[in-house]
């Protein structure tokens, strides 16, 4: 975060931008080339330059070199079937109460995209404990996170969460898997009193199933859908863009009931 990081060096992570859709996250390597379908340029030509610099490829296409921020990692990692978008990740931070210093359980890890955001925002003192049943996803996520240098803030488990979590007294549990209603009692047990649960689910049927269980263990339960519209900002033609992502998923939040209040309800 000091002056040195402001200039591109060999080894810098950079975001190479063609346009809003097409962009690449790369590590600068002296003596090597960046190559894409719009041509190539030599990394040497950007070393020593400040971020925000424009470079022209051999095919005369202009690219801009940016300093990546957390949401760029999210967007670049997310190629799995179930994508978490910045809008949803931001809401998990705010309504899930995930802050610097928090201890957070995540299940499942998936590609590690949301894991990287959670780790970024609990650093430097907090920690993420993330569970993934599928071995391939576990391996890919571990690699993705190492590439981002966030591994010291994360413990990875290649484990089915149906058996429960290893941790207790965590501040927040984030569920991003197909049948979260199965995990709610385990989440309750892992949370410290005052802790939160955040659940990401794509369908209404899942809201239905989640809500039937969630009310027994959590209070202040609510469900949100965030719709993100990008606005075209062309001069004299400002309007929402024609095509948009119409739906990513729903977010359901809750806060742990005290043991006493939980029991009361379960006896009903």
């Amino acid at each position: 975060m000091n002056g040195k990081t402001d200039t591109i060096t060999s080894g810098s992570d950079v975001l190479i931008v063609l346009n809003r859709k097409k962009r690449w996250l790369r590590k600068v390597k002296a003596g090597e080339k960046f190559q894409c379908h719009k041509g190539y340029f030599e990394y040497d030509d950007i070393i020593g330059k400040p971020y925000g610099t424009t470079i022209v490829t051999n095919k005369s296409v202009k690219l801009t070199i940016l300093k990546p921020i957390a949401s760029d990692f999210l967007t670049q990692i997310s190629h799995s079937s179930q994508i978490i978008y910045p809008k949803d990740a931001g809401l998990i931070l705010l309504y899930g109460g995930v802050v610097p210093g928090s201890k957070v359980i995540e299940a499942g890890t998936g590609s590690g995209a949301l894991t990287s955001i959670l780790a970024t925002y609990v650093a430097p003192m907090g920690h993420i404990y993330t569970y993934e049943r599928r071995e391939q996803a576990y391996k890919t996520a571990t690699q993705n996170i190492k590439r981002l240098g966030l591994e010291e803030h994360i413990t990875f488990y290649n484990k089915d969460v149906a058996d429960g979590f290893y941790e207790t007294e965590v501040d927040a549990v984030v569920l991003d898997l197909g049948d979260p209603w199965e995990i709610i009692p385990a989440a309750y047990n892992a949370l410290k009193c005052g802790g939160t649960i955040s659940i990401f689910i794509p369908t209404y049927n899942q809201i239905d199933k989640v809500s039937r269980v969630l009310h027994k263990y959590f209070c202040d339960v609510f469900a949100i859908e965030l719709i993100e519209r990008e606005i075209q900002i062309k001069e004299s033609a400002i309007r929402p863009k024609t095509w948009m992502v119409g739906h990513t998923g729903f977010l359901v939040f809750g806060r742990k009931l005290s043991e006493e209040n939980k029991k009361e309800i379960r006896e009903d």
Copy 2:
């Protein structure tokens, strides 16, 4: 964040919840009462209890005692005309690249609601520099922030930003005032290379004015509107709620162009 904070004590900040709309942020005081239109209870009756506890007022109304999280402060502070919602604050964190350790300028402070969120997420090593022209707002915001115990992470200025900012080399600038297009050159100068700008504006006319200036100094410019729908999760009657907040504002983001690229464009 250790075991002791999990139990309500005299001096604890608590969120007292009647329902999704009606809730109060209070400091527990031994020997005193909490009073609302639904009756009262003695704070002594919740001291020593865990968060997530339910208490019944003298009028037989059930209230739940929660541990406040950052977004609760946001919601409770926000009584000014221009409100920042959790959804918008979350997006500023993600697309504005505001992370633990960031140095961030905010203008204007308003009620301090967004300031409190920014301070929470740059802590413990980062810092917020916030500017407010109106003396009354400056005083209120200072008090609000002290109440939350976040003042060590924030420098307040009662100052018109038309003359520029005192800081340089900051990671991010967040503008939440009526005429942000006036401040864009000052934001450019205050940012370090690789830095971001985030602008919150309620109207399309403001997008129009902002975009004409922003492109000269910033690249990767885009504008987003987030629409938040709350889903009613009543059993067998899951549906979006009938009434909703239809619009809060638009968010425009950009990243600082290098000095060289900025000049190029200005000569056009």
Copy 3:
């Protein structure tokens, strides 16, 4: 539709407008007064004037006198629990194929609001057959429709549709009741080949139940939700309005399968 209707006369239906929210549908009566919380005016003072005229009450409040259109009847009638909005009624016309000359079955009648729209658009040669189980609703709807002078295009039944419809060979069936999945076979039998079904339902659970039955009898099945945002058009402050109706209901459409194709599927 000739020159005479253009001028307000005694007996004219008029829409008296205070603002976007507050407006009244009234029949002009010579020698009488219009009275509201903003004062009164004499109907005699608007008789002979053109529509689009402004009148000032005794309390100096300006009201505008408009000629009512079909959607005004809809808005003014709709005080029942389940409201059909112009946006949804318009989509039923278009996707339900309800056009001048159509024969249409509606169940249930409710307040008669949607009935009035359907009757308006199938006139002069088409006809609406509308079924309502509840006697009180049946009576209210009949009165509402008489007030609008649309009764010649409508046959009312105070009858439970569980036993089926009296008509066959109709062009379209419109269902606006709580358990439409029960009525789908009856709708199939009443429709002529090539006919359409349009179903209005507020919850996701109802979509689920409807879709399980609908696919057996209808093809080209799809479900739509229309979200209506009003845009504030104040000068230099154009923006979506702060508060909006977030949800009215979902519309599910389908077209009758041939008898042969229906059987095929049912044998599965």
Copy 4:
């Protein structure tokens, strides 16, 4: 509308449906084939069959034969740059007060898609007067409308509307062109007292320009954006579809002020 039209005959208009996206509007011709990328079938094989019949191509792909409704014409004609969707056309009918018997001016004609809807709903006694400046669009629209057999309800002009309209005393004016603010005075003059104006425009800048002029001539002015979400109705996975059309345009409506009230305002 009698029994004969219920069975597919040589000369029938049919909608041949592969799925929600891919569908063709065709005239059945005895002795000929329907051919698409999924193979062909003989029209003779569907002649005499009821609508809602399924046919299998030589490549074993199932197609369904439907009876086209008005919105199918709209969808099939709409290949021009500025598309009117059923949702927007439906709202123009309802808020524009376009009903059977109405006399309506439309400018510009475009591909004739909206013209076909307006003509369908004012039939049999009403009439559409449609203006188009560009000769090519005028010719295409004329052909499209002839194909639909709606020409008796429509008068086409290949004329720039800047000089005003030929008609007076019309019930409604619908503007769907790039600079509608130029035409507002002409629309005022063409309308009978009590008449409505409906304006379709894609950008916020156009709302701004329209609203500055519109208020001088029209009252009860409001602007609407309709957002259409298609809901995926797959069993146990009900959710809004991932991709959607995020924006088509805004609709601005107004009702003619009386001559007297118009003058009042213009003198300001």
